[in-house]
Symmetry: C2
Subunit: 155 residues, 2 copies
């Protein structure tokens, strides 16, 4: 992991997301980083984030995949801008257009979850990311996200 | 809406879900009901459930669609058992196998969200549900869920 978290590079006024905003004290504050060409994040669920006792609630899994995906999209788009010579570009903010999740195995409570993102496609206004969520080395969920640049109407 | 909420009919030991369990005081406690052949649920996000300020966080939207979908699956499976003559059947508990969400429009904060489920397929161990989430009459997200009967390994 290198540098500051993707989400911590968002502009202050766009840093209130419940899943990953550093300015949301109630939220999960997920933080994602580059690890080579992949992206990673780690999260330990709270004891009350249960589905069935002993297992993590699917909505939290979706949330973590969502925020890791949009963060990864922002970072990938920024890297593409920088590779194109825009060395002082600001990280563009992406939002989710489509999120598909396959729940492959029950996710156990009490262990750190690892999210890994693989960037599949980068265009100026659209990034596709595949995300796996693992617990204790076992892939419990796979996500496929289409993220789009945040529309001006949301600013 | 008629009868008790689907989620309130789950066995006590399976009622701890963060999204919809009546025994989880930290959670959303979403409650879903029949409305004819469709299912409905209503939810008002908390002020801190933001994505970008003014708009609801996508992870909450995924969570609500997820819990409304599994609740609807349970109710649809129970109705099928009852229609088959098992009038004293217990509601079977379903979990999510696959969840696909299209985010169609930013979901505004400060209004009640309406979830409507349409049952597309009912088998003893698999139910398919389509869910729309609307705010102030505008469909903001559509979900497609494949729910499967909870494996014994989760009990």
């Amino acid at each position: 992991m290198q540098g500051i978290a993707f989400q911590d590079a968002y502009p202050e006024e766009l840093s209130h997301c419940y899943g990953c905003g550093k300015n949301n004290p109630h939220g999960h504050q997920l933080k994602s980083y580059w690890d080579g060409d992949e992206t990673v994040a780690y999260f330990i669920p709270e004891p009350f984030h249960t589905a069935i006792p002993g297992f993590v609630y699917g909505g939290l899994i979706a949330s973590l995949i969502d925020c890791h995906g949009t963060g990864s999209a922002s970072a990938a788009a920024l890297r593409a801008l920088q590779d194109g010579g825009e060395t002082d570009a600001e990280p563009p903010r992406f939002v989710t257009a489509a999120l598909n999740i396959d729940y492959l195995a029950p996710t156990p409570m009490g262990v750190e979850l690892e999210l890994v993102g693989v960037i599949k496609e980068v265009k100026p206004r659209k990034v596709v990311v595949e995300i796996t969520l693992s617990a204790a080395g076992i892939v419990c969920a796979k996500g496929h996200m289409v993220a789009v640049k945040m529309p001006d109407t949301m600013m």
